[in-house]
Symmetry: C2
Subunit: 316 residues, 2 copies
């Protein structure tokens, strides 16, 4: 990504741990792992772990790399399971694992990745680190469950924010906390980094929700309007629904089967709901940067600031 | 079950932990958890944890009950996910979770149960305990993956044994080890209990595979011959296939779609393959009892001996 020259060599080392761990094993896992690792994911979570570790007394600790690999494994596990949950066919421009290998293999591969991650984490001998990671999966499941319960339903923006805080922002917050913890950063610094991660995650998810409408499907790697097609009402939709002048037209569109994606998109643009969501994401990114006030200045902090900017400016 | 008066009150306490943990939470999890807990599972794994804990210096430790609840959660998670993997419709006489709630909810509920279990476990502050539990899920996934790769394929008995050792016996072995570890039993006792659990698990799975052919479907809670219908070749089938006088007839039956369950059953009975499998299970149960030689005599050991007998005599 260019932004992360600071941790580029560490990230390459983490990728080696991932590849070595997942491809040395049994043939089915190897097949799925190679399929997953071949697509160029952003490696956002291990990057956060590595950058956060720079504020600790022991950024070179083996635990840091282990944690960075483990959070990516947890992330890959949730991607594979999410695709079953969303009945997705495409992910990152290629067939979703469930589409390519079937639901049974996707369930197994996800469970395997979770188990492998917790094995790596428990090898650190640090129960506090395991607890932070277990908390990631737990809170994320709560967010996913909340999303599942709210499908095809109008919720208020507050409920949406709680849901994405659980589903996405908490994972990024804990990735920062884990990096700080593994490298033995002071508590106040860990807390500041976790706040940064939370706001970064809120910004990240809202931008994701906007890109679902605005991105070039080729670059995004999946079709436009996928959320609404699956019944997930994200911030732009909820915000347009809260405007009396747009609500009834939009509501009528949402009740048609299939939902007329292009017409909805036009309403979201014309109503300013997409711009408003993006403005919200920018405010969250701003709060992320503010949270870094309690964190020592230096190249790692600059990289985190640049990352917050990147998250709201990205086009995929 | 009557066998376990020794740990009956502890088991009731574990059930309370389970119910309190899983039903106090969000509505979807509550629904699925109540559905799962209402069916009368055998609670075999928490029973092993509790019995094994009796050989430790601190059988009353809070960690023991936590571990007992956590292994049952892990077990419930795997049941829910297994039903997706096997595309099962019925489990314990009622609709499988995936059938009742759909695959998306089943994936989520399983992940949630895994995460909750690891949260409970990491609260003990004992990385060695977390490591044992992560190992359960990891090895079980390997066994499931091996089974998935061997569907509709003739494998040798050795491969079958390795597969069920990973899929089932290891979980029972680690449940014993976890109970001993949580209660601070001596290492040699923990090792003896783990060997007991391994052989008990081998016996348990082979009996399961025999019951899939011989049990009253009403008592078993699922139709007869489910394994072969799903392409899982268990010991009785593999053993009949290894006999020249039965192999070609059986092979022809197995190639028909759908497989003629009743005809296959007759071959497995007539060839003696079912009886032979049961004899194998009895030998494993005997080895389980032998493994207890290194474990102090007393009511807990007697209960474990009785459990080994029960496992091979049960009819469901």
């Amino acid at each position: 990504m260019g932004l992360f020259t600071l941790v580029e060599s560490d990230l390459a080392a983490v990728d080696e741990v991932l590849t070595a761990t997942l491809t040395a094993e049994n043939p089915l896992v190897r097949q799925v792992a190679e399929y997953l690792l071949a697509t160029s994911g952003k490696r956002l979570r291990p990057t956060l772990v590595l950058l956060a570790s720079r504020f600790g007394r022991h950024p070179e600790a083996q635990a840091v790399r282990v944690v960075a690999a483990a959070v990516e494994m947890i992330h890959l596990a949730t991607l594979v399971h999410d695709d079953i949950i969303d009945e997705a066919t495409v992910r990152r421009g290629q067939a979703a694992v469930r589409q390519r290998f079937g639901n049974p293999v996707a369930v197994l591969a996800g469970d395997y990745l979770f188990a492998r991650a917790f094995q790596l984490l428990s090898d650190t001998g640090r129960p506090d680190i395991v607890a932070l990671a277990a908390d990631i999966v737990f809170v994320m499941c709560q967010g996913e469950i909340a999303q599942n319960l709210s499908l095809f339903r109008e919720t208020d923006a507050e409920e949406y924010r709680r849901r994405i805080a659980d589903k996405t922002a908490h994972f990024l917050a804990q990735s920062c906390a884990l990096g700080a913890r593994a490298a033995e950063a002071p508590e106040a610094v860990e807390a500041g980094l976790a706040r940064y991660g939370h706001h970064l995650g809120m910004a990240f998810q809202v931008v994701d929700d906007v890109l679902d409408w605005r991105a070039d499907p080729g670059r995004l790697g999946k079709p436009t309007g996928g959320d609404i097609a699956g019944g997930v009402y994200t911030l732009p939709v909820l915000s347009a629904l809260s405007r009396p002048e747009w609500a009834s037209a939009l509501r009528a569109q949402l009740q048609r089967k299939p939902v007329p994606i292009e017409e909805v998109r036009q309403v979201l643009e014309a109503s300013g709901a997409l711009d408003e969501a993006l403005a919200y994401a920018r405010r969250e990114a701003g709060q992320a940067v503010e949270a870094l006030a309690s964190v020592p200045a230096g190249p790692a902090r600059e990289a985190l600031v640049a990352l917050a900017r990147f998250v709201v400016e990205r086009d995929r």
